[in-house]
Amino acid sequence: MRTDRRSRFFLRLPGLKPGEEATALLFFLTFFLITASFSIFKSIRDASYLDELGSRNLPLAYTTAFFVGLVAAFTAKLQARVKRQSLLVATLAFFALTGAAFFFLFPRAGKWLVLVYYVWANVLAVVLMTQFWIAVNDLYNPREAKRLIGFIVSGGILGGILGGLLTYLLAEQWSTHLLWLSSGLLCAAIPAVRQVYARQRRGQAAAPPGPSAAPQTEGQPVEMRKAGFKDGFQTVWGNSYLRLLAGIVFLSGLIATFIDWQSKHIIERAVTGNLTSFFGLFNSGLLVFSFLLQLLGTSRIVDRYGLRRILLFYPVVILACTLGILVWPVLAAAVALKGSEKSLSYSVNQSARELLYFPVPARQKYRAKVFIDIFLNRLSRTMGALLLLGVWALPWRQNLLKVSFLSLLCLTAWIGLNFRAASEYVRLVKEKLRGRWDRGDRLVEIQVDVDFAKTVFDLLESRRRSPVLYALHIYDLFRQNKLTPEVRALLLAEPEDRRPAAIGGLMESETTGPLAQVFSAPEEEALKRDVEEIMALDVYQEVMQGYLERTLEERKATEAVTRMEIAKMLGFLPDRSPLVLRLEELLADDSAEVVRYAISSAGRSGRREFVPELTRRLNDPRFAQDAAEALQRYGAKITGTLADLLADEQEPLELRKRTAVALGRVGNQEAVDFLLWQLARGPEDLDGEITDALDRVRSGPAQVGFDSVLVMNMLGQELKRYYRTFLAEAKAEPGALQPILFNVFKLLGLIYVREDIFKAYQNLLSGTREAMAYALELLDNSLSTGVRDALFPILEDDPLRERLRRFRSLLKDFPELRP
């Protein structure tokens, strides 16, 4: 009971799901302690530096960032060789001990120690933060990360607030004794880290083997153990997306350096009291703001606005504040600039940046992070410092203005890179997903020439039944230009003893071997032309009319194969030939084979007289497929008739369903418009077939448009149907809901990129945990806000109670759906 109550409490925290509470809380706690400690170290760092060396010497401190990068790269090498847990614990212990050591060094050393301490504090920040986030990255997939990063970051922000407040309150009395406090906080993080890894080991032992097991963290593969700075550089250099991320980090590092100098330059002049205390309060205050932002907004903002807009939010705010400094360079403007830079970098930007890494394969990600976050980030600070010195050297005296303009320039480039990164991110997520299957009918259409295959099978079947039928099939292949070498080989493969040596044999036995010899002559075109011309002759029509009358009037005495021959031949006659109308009798023949041939020829003729019989045959399961294919041959001119049939409620439901399929086969704009209209009109019994027919059109090459308003209306109806079905049967069988969900995705495919939508659907349906996460990520980045809000409660793996609550709420207040 206690556990349940506790779980329910934690589940109220944003994004947490059952089973995730303990690890997430341990990460929260670890980050809390690390940042609380760092906040104290940092306040001492900034205040002591300004006190001893002043803001004019800040570029010297910034240039040490490169050294920090080198130290960090060295620890990265260790990271690649030593187990994650051991390294993180040892690092925490190292900084706790050395932090305490500074307590003894400060009173004895001169000004130079301030610079050493500055470097030390920066090394602590970069090494600990990187190790911590690599641990988080290893453990969570993109969806989990998206939900949980906000929560974990909140821990860091809370820690920073506490550290800042303690510094503010105690700085006057405790002075450097604060170093003991922050070292103690680092020591306290060690058991939390050990617990995280202990839980992970237990989880891995319990998890079934397979692709859905959690990502690897502890025992790295051999190639990862070898990773270091050089590997990291090569990895980033060889991958355009990683180069893009590197560019973003580099520019953000430059800008952060400029902002740091701009703000400290103003603070140094404006603040007259204890600087350590001021920085404590300032750090604490900006983290309170960050925390509120995080608690109230970050997860929601990231969820709601997607990565693209989030990536732009941060630089745009900084841009606005930099313009503020240009106009009004006072303490408030400096606090606003530094405050927004820091608070947003801890919250929104941190979340967005971590998300950007998720489509990168684990091995590359690890190597790239080592290079970008540890080395390049530091290098950018050093470059920032050199740029500052360079700008100051310019003749214009107003250093603050010069730096502000430089910052604006970099911000513009940064925004551009963020735009590109967002697009690349979506592309990579798409690449992560493999389309598992395509529509069966389309697949058959692409891979198999159905008409050809049927003719070849009929050809072989007719071989011993009737030489005339056989010849007609071969002519059919001629007409389609499909008498391929393979078919020729098949025809010539007839055993020698069956091949008549002369024309007499051919006529007597009526076998067909010599035909193949004729085909081998390069006279196909001439033959085709001759036959067409003969069939167009009036005398031919007259002769055949007599033959048909005799044969069809004595139908009972005629063999079915003869009627099949006639049915086949009539399909080759010119459309205007009155003889073609004899197909009407054959369409009603007793023999299914004759009817099948007649349906095919009726389709070829494209004559209106056959439409009633063809549509009637749609309702006969034996001929439905043939009839649909024949009607498809009519093309656009059959659309109206089929539309009337589909709309006629007096017609049997099965016939109307097959009519929807036939309309989908026709697949022109008129057919699509009518199918959508009918879908909107109801009844629901036809929804599945109509939606499928529309999807068939969408999956094909035809360039047709889909009325987005109608589609969105229908999508809304299907989604509501899903909620209602789920609520009506709270233990909803997946079988009952699956067709509705499939319809939802087919409708989405009409408006959005079908390939993406179906990739996502298929991976959600049968993919691994990782594939499902990427599928959701793809949808998240593809769909509009309203559609996401309505669809994601169905797709996300929420507890039953939460799902029921969300569905009820959505039925009451359904979002407006826009493409």
Binding site: L472, M507, A521, D530, V531, E533, L537, V539, M544
Partner: protein, 115 residues
């Protein structure tokens, strides 16, 4: 195209030689020759294609027109010794169902005798 006429009993045999094509129409067509025979009371016609090198749709039209004329007068028109290619065309157009086609002239003549 060169057409020679022979009589055997009451059967008129036309030995056709060369090519029967639209571009090679002589003053007297095959159909005209058959009609002449029909008008003179001969109702059993045999077309011998042994020496026919080529026949186009016009040629087939001539044969068909001859068939109709013969048939309308209650006569019989049969064909002997056609090429494989023409036989294939006849099969595709289902004219094998209409015409009686023989491998040898003798067999064709005998078939007239049996009727």
């Amino acid at each position: 195209m060169d057409i020679k006429k022979r009589d055997k009993n009451d059967i008129v045999i036309f030995d056709i030689e060369g090519e029967i094509r639209r571009s090679d129409i002589s003053e007297v067509t095959l159909h005209q020759l058959v009609k002449d025979q029909l008008e003179s009371g001969k109702k059993h016609i045999l077309l011998n294609f042994e020496k026919v090198e080529f026949i186009d749709s016009f040629g087939v039209g001539e044969i068909l027109a001859s068939y109709i004329s013969t048939h309308n007068l209650g006569g019989k028109l049969k064909i002997a010794r056609i090429s494989k290619k023409l036989y294939l065309i006849f099969q595709i157009t289902m004219l094998t169902k209409v015409f009686e086609i023989f491998d040898e002239e003798e067999m064709a003549l005998r078939s007239f005798g049996r009727e």
